[in-house]
């Protein structure tokens, strides 16, 4: 029992259950204790450490530690802490508890040694994160939250169906590498995981919901759902070739949409799709270097993406809008937020001295070393787009462009700056000392990011992309638009779906109900006086014959039937 309570995911979920019993004042501080406890456990459990249990005759491995789960565990726990600091001023219990369950779910998935445990934590993530969208309490967030939930129930259902099929065919529940075989079980599991990894065309829940979640909620969301799915892909589906092309396509798709979008948080959401594309591509390549790259990139990505969401969240908090068309010219009013945001932007763009440089290059080079130069060029093209929209377009149209902006700017709580500061420090720290990250990677690292070749490559690409942006920036000017994506099919289909599955079904039930009532009415009228048709000699014209017979007549009728039955049976 004690062992069960020391599972990192369970620590956070226990924390979520304890929070409601604490007074409001100490709740934000108490929130921070649980990720730290989980981090302690993550660091102290050696490779091969397991916690087992039994459920319905199945032997469950609820925790299993190794180098891969450790590196994801470290970053999930750290992010839960940093996001907790960012949300320190927020007093809403529902959001606090659900954020802890959400982080606990991600950590639970990371350490799950069997597929049943995994899917339980997986579903916990889906439900708790939905709260973080609905907590925004706007009409848009209500709808987006519902679509998000339905999408994740579908994904979770596919994963669970795959797991059951896998169990039925192999008899194994272990979370282990699956051979590249497109059997029904494997495909169901892969598609279920791909929903959470936002693999196109299953990515629309992300771009739809993340920009509409609460300011603090989206910081948690940027870290856990997609990256826990990346973990499962690294663990179970390394070297599945289909992932190379889906990953590279995701990387480009996200980049193109980020140029089209005009909402700062939507741009970042599409860049999650793009960045996860790098990881998915690396997983598809499947060499040790590529898997190291994907893992390292997931680690770096969680840090800089949470920093970027914190920065844009700060803009939304201060100005009340995330629409670029209302922003611009904020540099004088929010210079520190700009500085901290730019650390994240330089990191995601893979600029030297920042943490994106040490992991993105590894993934791209892994594609090259594996002989896949097409994928390599696609990823390089995607990095141009990343720098273009997150590093240049977004900050330019938010903090510069206009000389003045009379929008009212609210003062930010200090804890927001502290959280952004911690994340920014980590981005620079790992950028300067890559080996502090490399030692935790699942395979031995034989990669040096700071070579002259890499520096020349990145600096040339970045400088000329900057020039391109400067010349073409008017083409990206903010406007009030909504960009349609694949979600159009189900969002516009909603009235038709409602007609077929709700309205028509309702009408059918109404008709059936009326029919049944009509039959009942007819029967009760007929049986009101059975003597009318049982006794052919009844005079129908006689008014008395329409009266119900007295009870004694009915009783004698039953008695007579009983007697006839008895005689027939015994004789």
């Amino acid at each position: 029992m004690i062992e069960f309570l020391t599972i990192p995911g369970v620590i956070l979920i226990t924390g979520a259950l304890l929070l409601p019993f604490l007074p409001e004042k100490i709740r934000p501080s108490a929130f921070l204790i649980f990720p730290l406890m989980a981090l302690f456990v993550v660091f102290t459990r050696p490779d091969g450490y397991t916690v087992t249990g039994e459920l319905l005759n199945y032997e469950l491995v609820m925790m299993q530690a190794d180098s891969l789960s450790r590196i994801f565990g470290i970053i999930f726990a750290i992010t839960a802490f940093v996001a907790g600091v960012y949300a320190f001023h927020m007093k809403e219990l529902g959001q606090q508890s659900n954020a802890l369950v959400y982080a606990g779910g991600a950590l639970g998935v990371t350490y799950a040694g069997d597929l049943l445990t995994l899917v339980i934590f997986w579903e916990l993530m889906a439900v708790s994160s939905t709260w973080l969208i609905w907590a925004r309490r706007t009409k848009e967030s209500d709808g987006a939250g519902m679509r998000y939930l339905i999408y994740h129930i579908l994904g979770g259902g596919l994963l669970f169906a795959g797991i059951l099929w896998h169990l039925a065919t192999t008899g194994s529940l272990a979370v282990e590498t699956v051979a590249q075989d497109y059997s029904v079980a494997n495909v169901l599991m892969l598609v279920g995981v791909c929903v959470n990894a936002a693999v196109i065309p299953l990515h629309t829940w992300l771009a739809d919901a993340y920009p509409k979640a609460t300011i603090t909620g989206s910081v948690f969301m940027s870290a856990f759902t997609t990256k826990s799915a990346v973990y499962v892909l690294v663990r179970m589906f390394p070297g599945w070739e289909v992932l190379i092309w889906f990953g590279a396509a995701m990387a480009l798709y996200g980049v193109i949409y980020a140029v089209i979008c005009k909402d700062i948080r939507e741009i970042l959401a599409y860049h999650i799709v793009s960045q996860v594309g790098f990881m998915v591509c690396g997983i598809g390549i499947g060499t040790e270097m590529a898997l190291n790259g994907a893992t390292a990139h997931a680690y770096s990505h969680i840090l800089y993406k949470s920093l970027l969401f914190m920065g844009t969240g700060a803009v939304l908090y201060a100005t009340g809008t995330s629409k670029m068309v209302h922003l611009g010219g904020l540099f004088k009013k929010m210079p520190y937020t700009f500085g901290l945001y730019m650390v994240g932007a330089l990191s995601i763009s893979g600029i030297p001295l920042f943490n994106g440089f040490i992991s993105k290059g590894m993934t791209i080079d892994a594609a090259g070393y594996a002989g896949n130069e097409t994928a390599m060029l696609m990823l390089l093209l995607a990095s141009v787009g990343t720098w273009l929209s997150v590093g240049l377009k977004l900050p330019y149209f938010t903090w510069f462009d206009k000389t003045e902006n009379d929008i009212e700017v609210k003062k930010l709580p200090v804890n927001m700056y502290i959280a952004m500061g911690i994340a920014a420090f980590a981005c620079i720290f790992y950028g300067l000392f890559p080996n502090t990250l490399y030692i935790y990677l699942p395979f031995e690292v034989d990669y040096e990011p700071y070579t002259i070749y890499h520096l020349v490559e990145v600096i040339q690409i970045s400088l000329l992309t900057f020039l391109g942006f400067w010349l073409l920036k008017k083409k990206m000017a903010p406007e009030l638009i909504v960009a349609l994506d694949v979600d159009w099919f189900y969002r516009k289909a909603a009235p038709a779906t409602r007609l077929v599955f709700v309205k028509k079904v309702d009408e059918f039930f109404d008709k059936v109900e009326e029919g049944i009532l009509a039959i009942a009415r007819w029967l009760s009228a007929k049986f009101q006086n059975p003597m009318v048709w049982l006794n052919p000699f009844t005079k129908k014209g006689n008014e008395a014959s329409n009266y119900s017979p007295a009870m004694d007549v009915v009783m004698s009728f039953i008695l007579l039937s009983f007697l006839i039955f008895a005689i027939v049976y015994f004789v």
Binding site: E373, L380, V456, I461
Partner: protein, 70 residues
Amino acid sequence: MKKIHWIILGVLFVITLGFEFTVLADYDSHWWNAIPAFYAIFGFVCCTAIVYVAKFIAKNIVNRDINYYD
């Protein structure tokens, strides 16, 4: 952008070119290493392509009024 910023970026670019033609002159791990200043050309061409492709898609296919889904 002030003039001095452009000068700094220009100098940085010249330095990378300097390295490319001296230290990295014999570097050959991909076919494109034979093309001089490949990464600079790649950056500029790709940036322009992304902007125009995105603009084309936005204008002709995906952009709608902000209240489209309401």
